[in-house]
Symmetry: D2
Subunit: 95 residues, 4 copies
Amino acid sequence: MIVAEFSVFPMGAGTSGGRYVRAVHDMLKKAGIEFIAGPMSTAIEAETFEEICMIIERANKVLSDMEVQRIITSVKIDYRLDKDISMQSKLDACR
Amino acid sequence: MIVAEFSVFPMGAGTSGGRYVRAVHDMLKKAGIEFIAGPMSTAIEAETFEEICMIIERANKVLSDMEVQRIITSVKIDYRLDKDISMQSKLDACR
Amino acid sequence: MIVAEFSVFPMGAGTSGGRYVRAVHDMLKKAGIEFIAGPMSTAIEAETFEEICMIIERANKVLSDMEVQRIITSVKIDYRLDKDISMQSKLDACR
Amino acid sequence: MIVAEFSVFPMGAGTSGGRYVRAVHDMLKKAGIEFIAGPMSTAIEAETFEEICMIIERANKVLSDMEVQRIITSVKIDYRLDKDISMQSKLDACR
């Protein structure tokens, strides 16, 4: 699997982003997409780049539906061909 | 347009990444995709998230075709709904 | 407090980074620095930018001491002046 | 040298960041710090982590002096021990 981590930053929508992040997490839950929420970003996993991209696009859609006029998204993707990885395997590897 | 910036880091492929970045830039040129190369990342622009994603995926494909077994990609996306932006308009705004 | 998230990527040191991340976490534990490990990055908090920077530098030192010849570090910093934040308050805000 | 790239995102300060980025670039010029401005980020170089950190902190200070109440900073650092690098050498390596 491909493991990724992303953060969305609503610009021009006040200093607090909590309700936007909650809305993104709600979207992920409703879509049945597993994620791990951290203090600064949300980790996800998917079989393909398309799925990762679709999640990022949907997260942006959640914010634009909440009237956010500009969204900065930061994404980090771990694409590994030599062995299968998952969010859990990556967490385990650090222990 | 959506403006983005990305970097690909080949893991387990030596310390030098120049030839991989050159290969990614060659792919962009051949595909007719405009970009601005910086010391640490490459800026691109596209009409849709799908296009941004396709470019990121293709960049990963360039590296995996060069036998890189693990690729870390860092992406930053600026999605703005209140006015049209481009790489050039963003550069101009800082001057 | 300032909340930050960072990842270190050893270049030219094989495809697996687990032992390097473990070494960074060991350093954090020994130094009494609280952190939250995620699948793709490690969250930290500090009173000042200097402390955040010192942690990043030390993490790089851990890897260079392990003979890593090139280290890419990705950092995201949340510096907020309108209210006090912490890793925990940020996690709570998303729930 | 250590080469880095950073972006500052003012939260709760409208959707346009141009004047903030210009102010950061003015600070860099006045301080005699070389930089390369890109559409999404600013590249810098320094001899030490302390210098990189000082620049990041100063950029945050520029924004807080402009009444920005929350600042997200994204930083990527390239620390290489096997050979000397600079912003220019990294640009050249991609050509």
